[in-house]
């Protein structure tokens, strides 16, 4: 994540030769450095060897599928993952987001759109201010881009971190899912609200004492989410 100033280095895991070649061609033209893998196993090996900035991951893979790849990466790593999915498989999206993906694009995807998503995800890790904020046991250090809870470092993905930052910037104020999609994911008005829901779930699992009855990140019915300052 320290290579944001350099050319983005992507790992593309896609089993279909034509799509892999075409996407590699397109992404390379958009100014990315791309390595590709045809299976999940190869992809995981390449991930360990080459340390890319971001992974573009097809869901339908022979052998271990995209979700499993995603889960295995998340066990040790917080690097951004964008899923390549088919919209017809609505459940795929939900499962993919639950397994830890940061964003998803629907096939067939235009290179330009994928590029925009990649850059948006990478931007989430960029620091923008130098202060810090405290919410009970939770300390958000905006200069170091770290979050600690009871003094322990929390491993957050860039998307989770950005979501927490956006919420912490307006404590006590409810933000709608569409607002959060624009602020965090940089999506247009048609952003998928499930991205927000899934990300909130993952974030709660990491920052809340009891994730099923959250005290920090609260759901505001009919509106969206709110970060509360503990009294």
């Amino acid at each position: 994540m320290g290579q944001n100033d350099a050319v983005p280095f992507l790992l593309l895991i896609e089993d279909d030769d034509a799509i892999r070649t075409a996407l590699e061609l397109s992404l390379s033209r958009q100014g990315h450095r791309v390595v590709t893998a045809a299976t999940g196993e190869d992809g995981l090996k390449l991930l360990r060897e080459q340390r890319p900035d971001l992974i573009v991951l097809d869901v339908m893979l022979p052998g271990i599928d995209g979700f499993e790849v995603c889960r295995r990466i998340r066990r040790t790593d917080q690097l951004p993952i964008i899923l390549l999915t088919a919209r017809s498989d609505d459940i795929d999206v939900v499962v993919g987001l639950e397994s830890g993906a940061d964003d998803y694009v629907v096939k067939p995807v235009q290179g330009r759109v994928l590029d925009a998503r990649i850059r948006a995800v990478l931007r989430r890790g960029e620091r923008e201010s130098t202060d810090s904020a405290t919410f009970g046991a939770l300390v958000i250090d905006r200069s170091a881009m770290t979050v600690t809870k009871n003094g322990e470092d929390l491993q957050l993905t860039p998307t989770e971190l950005r979501l927490l930052l956006e919420l912490s910037r307006r404590p006590g104020q409810a933000l709608s899912r569409q607002q959060l999609l624009r602020l965090v994911w940089e999506h247009d008005y048609l952003g998928d609200s499930r991205l927000v829901d899934a990300c909130v779930q993952r974030l709660r699992a990491k920052v809340e004492d009891v994730p099923s009855s959250p005290t920090l990140i609260r759901t505001v019915r009919g509106v969206g989410y709110r970060l509360d300052v503990p009294s």
Binding site: D16, P108, S176, S193, A198
Partner: protein, 581 residues
């Protein structure tokens, strides 16, 4: 006839046993006034109670029974049959009884009278005086048979002397003239007729009481004797018999009504069950079966029903399997198409960007490949959307949105801001699927711009729990014959909708998207002739339709999704029929 012959036989026997003077010739002459021409008026009481019972019984049964119902008809038919049978049986029984009773009384009285005439009246002198006649008459009357006697003799030649046992109640005036004529008439004695005089009788009614009047003449000169016997006792007996028969008829009628009820119930219960089953079958519950018991016609009917239902179920299952496989084929096909399209789409941009530096001969070809790839993309995307609706796998991803913002964003994203007038207030919040709302709006507005021309007017209103979005264009409107088909797939009215535009699925997909929200779209022409009007109606909160609220963790719980799918399956079927209408 038998009665008269018997009477004659006894009279002969009596004559033979007589004093040898040939007195007491008495018997009914054929065709005489002795025919029991009158009536004891017995039929009335029998008929009337029956009739009353019939009417009364039917009136009671009518309560709570639908006229013209099978039950009522059965009851009426049973009652009619019972009435006919009871009335004819009672009638015959009454008639036979009446004849037997009257005949017996009559025979006894007349025989007794003849006997008395032979023993007492014949003993009178040839010219008895009134006193003798009266005494003899009294003696005869007191014989115990309970009749009164009137003796008419010739005290002096040409002069009538009358002696009565009870002159106040039986005088010669009471004897019908016809009977007197018959009695007094002397008949020629020949081989067929042994005696010049016979005994005649007739039934009369006096002061409301029936009487038997008999008369005869002593052969060889002597008084003429008449008797009057009251038949009041017999009438009373017959009358009570009539009443008994009437009551029996009434009971038979009641019994038949009850039987009819029972029969109707045994017949109608299976019929009702059959009707109920047919109704369920009609509602689409094809697994409806009847329990078959017995071997009667109704059981046969139930069996036929079961067979029909089974065949229907099999046929429907066949058809839906076939439909399912063709649907799956389309779904698989569009999936398969997507893989090459994904590769193509990824590289079209490369081609596009290089387009300007290409050979002018090649550039148009590249541009064509790029644009047609996009169109193919749209088509496949729409096709997959349709198959998702058909398969019932389409889901709502609900979010709370400001409707005016969504509409503005939709118009803005397609660079339609100049061509669309938006009439909406900000702050109308709704819980719906923003992507699907966008699809609906894009299709409706795009369609209006294509066929109606700008300006297109979009207005947003709320009515109770509903959101009403109206898209109005200023074009020529939609021809009346096309109007019912605008939401059909691939339906294009040749003149107004050129083939080159759109995929032919746009409005159909818009409709499906509205239906999955629990809303709908209607198309009409503006009544003032100002073009076509599409009205989109959506619930302001689609959570109830979606099943889950999509809020936080709930959105991804599988059970909620299943529920959502179930709901959609129903909606999808409904949508399918609507869309195809």
């Amino acid at each position: 006839m038998t009665a008269r012959n018997d009477a004659r036989a006894t009279s002969r026997g009596a004559a033979g046993a007589g004093a040898g003077r040939g007195t007491g010739r008495a018997a009914g002459a054929p065709g005489g006034s002795g025919d029991p021409a009158d009536d004891l008026a017995p039929a009335g009481p029998v008929g009337r109670p029956g009739g009353r019972a019939g009417r009364g019984g039917r009136g009671g049964l009518l309560a709570g029974i639908r006229l013209s119902s099978l039950r009522l008809r059965l009851v009426v038919v049973f009652a009619l049959v019972a009435l006919t049978a009871a009335v004819s049986a009672s009638g015959i029984a009454y008639w036979l009884n009446r004849e037997a009773v009257l005949q017996r009384t009559q025979d006894a009285s007349l025989n007794d009278f003849r006997q008395e005439m032979q023993t007492r009246a014949a003993a009178l002198p040839v010219r008895p005086d009134a006193d003798e006649l009266r005494r003899t008459a009294e003696d005869m009357a007191n014989g115990g048979s309970g009749y009164r006697v009137l003796l008419v003799g010739e005290g002096e030649p040409g002069k009538q002397t009358i002696g009565a046992s009870d002159a106040d109640r039986f005088s010669l005036r009471d004897v019908p003239a016809g009977l007197r004529t018959q009695v007094d008439q002397e008949r020629q004695v020949d081989s067929g007729n042994e005696f010049p005089y016979h005994l005649f009788w007739v039934r009369i009614e006096k002061g409301g009481t029936p009487y038997l009047v008999g008369g005869t003449r002593i052969i060889g000169g002597g008084p003429t004797g008449y008797m009057l016997k009251s038949l009041e006792q017999e009438r009373q007996d017959l009358s009570s018999l009539g009443w008994s028969l009437g009551v029996a008829t009434l009971l038979a009628l009641l019994g038949s009504a009850l039987l009819a009820q029972a029969a109707a119930t045994t017949v109608l219960k299976p019929v009702h069950r059959l009707g109920e089953a047919a109704r369920r079958l009609g509602e689409g519950r094809l697994d409806t079966r009847l329990r078959v018991s017995g071997t009667d016609e109704l059981a046969e009917l139930s069996r036929t029903f079961n067979n029909a239902a089974e065949n229907l179920q099999k046929k429907v299952a066949d058809m839906s399997a076939r439909e399912e496989s063709s649907r799956r084929f389309v779904a698989d096909m569009s999936h398969e198409l997507r893989t090459p399209l994904t590769a193509l789409t990824a590289v079209t941009e490369v081609l596009e960007e290089e387009g300007e530096s290409l050979d002018p001969m090649i550039a148009p070809a590249v541009a064509l490949v790029v644009s047609e790839t996009r169109r193919l993309n749209t088509l496949v995307e729409n096709l997959m959307e349709v198959t998702r609706f058909d398969a019932g796998t389409a889901r709502l991803v609900l979010d709370d949105v400001d409707v005016a913002d969504q509409v503005t964003a939709c118009i803005d994203a397609r660079a339609w801001l100049d061509a669309v007038e938006l009439d909406a207030e900000r702050g109308i919040m709704a819980r719906l699927d923003p992507r699907r709302l966008d699809v609906i709006l894009a299709n409706l507005i795009g369609n209006a711009l294509k066929h109606g021309g700008s300006p297109v007017r979009v207005s947003i209103r709320t009515a109770g729990d509903e959101l009403l979005i109206e898209v109005r264009d200023h074009g020529p409107g939609i021809p009346e014959d096309v109007l019912p088909h605008v939401f059909d797939r691939f339906y294009k009215a040749s003149a107004s909708r050129p083939r080159s535009e759109g995929s032919g699925l746009g409005l159909s997909i818009a409709m499906e998207n509205a239906l999955i929200h629990g809303g709908d779209i209607t198309a009409a022409n503006s009544p003032d002739g100002g073009g076509a009007v599409f009205r989109l109606r959506l619930p302001r909160d689609a959570s109830a339709i979606a099943g889950g609220d999509g809020d936080g963790p709930g959105a991804s719980q599988p059970d909620k999704r299943d529920k959502q799918r179930d709901k959609h399956d129903r909606r999808g079927k409904k949508g399918g029929t609507d869309g195809g209408a």
